[in-house]
């Protein structure tokens, strides 16, 4: 049982054309920037993976990370809650030119749909979005006099996430608010690839402090001193 992979390149090698890809992080917090950039490099060299659907809360900022994926032309569709933000030109331009699809999902519904996929719950009811245009076409139901919208699980072929500690069994911890969507995405993808700042032996993480149990993680790759996406965005870095 050793889920560690020695290179970033190997770790994302199986991500295929048309893959549905969950990418952890919220803004620059907990964003697996090295994994994303490795995937972009592969696309630039080989033309693959193309036509990827990306699931993330946002749609990238600046010229790095998801924004750079979009700019590079490898993203067919975004599923997110908040694509509109400062420095989101990469998405904006493609969207306004009708070159990228958008499925807009309320943030809590996005989180819960991902968790539902991980938990084997094909559908659930939420009050969120009832009576709004984001509920159009969705079944509704009344429970105890209140109205709810039925939402479906959201699965992915791959998830790429960023952890702090990772062990060879795939157990993960996260740094501060970098946790965000990462543990949920680990549950919801067929294959989960985690970059971690420190890769330790099994037993190197206190069992009570594991946030993502290894059963949800397939591959772990160590990236010591990872870059912080927010700083890259603020300094105008381009990938």
């Amino acid at each position: 049982m050793d889920k560690s992979i020695s290179t970033l390149t190997e770790s994302v090698a199986d991500i295929h054309d048309g893959a549905v890809l969950m990418i952890g992080g919220f803004g620059g917090s907990g964003s697996p920037i090295e994994l994303i950039h490795t995937l972009i490099d592969r696309f630039r060299e080989t033309g693959s993976p193309k036509d990827v659907t990306v699931i993330n809360n946002n749609a990238g900022n600046g010229f790095v990370g998801i924004a750079a994926m979009i700019k590079a032309g490898m993203v067919k569709k975004m599923i997110c809650s908040f694509p509109r933000s400062s420095n989101a030109e990469a998405f904006n331009e493609k969207f306004l030119a009708d070159e990228i699809e958008l499925e807009l999902v309320p943030q809590g519904t996005l989180a819960e749909r991902i968790r539902a996929a991980g938990a084997g719950i094909p559908a659930f009811y939420t009050p969120t979005s009832f009576g709004t245009e984001l509920a159009i076409g969705k079944p509704t139901e009344e429970f105890d006099g209140k109205h709810y919208v039925q939402e479906r699980w959201l699965k992915a072929d791959f998830a790429i996430v960023k952890g702090q500690l990772g062990d060879k069994h795939g157990n993960l911890t996260y740094r501060l608010a970098g946790r965000n969507f990462n543990p949920l995405m680990c549950m919801a993808a067929d294959v989960t690839i985690a970059q971690v700042s420190d890769l330790v032996e099994a037993g190197g993480i206190d069992p009570e402090q594991v946030i993502t149990p290894g059963i949800f993680v397939d591959h772990v790759v160590e990236v010591k001193s990872p870059q912080q996406e927010e700083i890259l965005v603020r300094t105008g870095a381009v990938h």
Binding site: G28, S81, F82, R84, F91, Q107, G131, T132, L176, E230
Partner: protein, 224 residues
Amino acid sequence: MTYTKLTNAQIAWRAAQDIEDGAYVNLGIGFPEMVAKFQPEGREAVFHTENGVLGFGQAPAEGSEDWDLINAGKKAITLKPGASFFHHADSFAMVRGGHLDVAILGAYQIAQNGDLANWRVGSKGVPAVGGAMDLVHGAKRVAVITDHVTKDGKPKLVETCTFPLTGVGCVTRVYTSLAVVDIEGGKFVLREKLSDISMDELQALTGATLHTDGPVADLSVPEL
């Protein structure tokens, strides 16, 4: 016009006065974040941010930001004693599950039945919704802070929202630059107004009937 409308800071100050000691509070991105600055002496609210932090404090000094420690507006924050981290599904369990005492949001329009429109003004451009639709159906009390009218002078308190809805019948109190208005039984009920504005002037700036069911107090705020 012989009155001076409240500044954003003063609206935020007024909203802050209604937050009880020990309340769990979510403040919308932007203008509502200002409410945190005006917690009354002796009261301690715990602030929640959707991306997964409870108990955060003010922004760190410039240059000492840790960009893994941010709020839903992607601004750097600090932690207070008793803070905790959790993932997004747990964070929205707090929201949707009714665990927050109050959410304070901005608005494009508020209808007299409590409908809120605050995420989109039309069908052009890039839409973005974030956590607003979850917050309006989760917190025990959903309040709005806003200028009383739009930049071009149109009412924001209306009979029926014309912009796309964020939530149906969810708002119970609106703090504006001119008044404090409750929503009860499908009506706007005026609670407080600036002493210098007349009822007629205020009604003229409001897109639906302002009701009263008792004395209307003066909306009185400090210089800020």
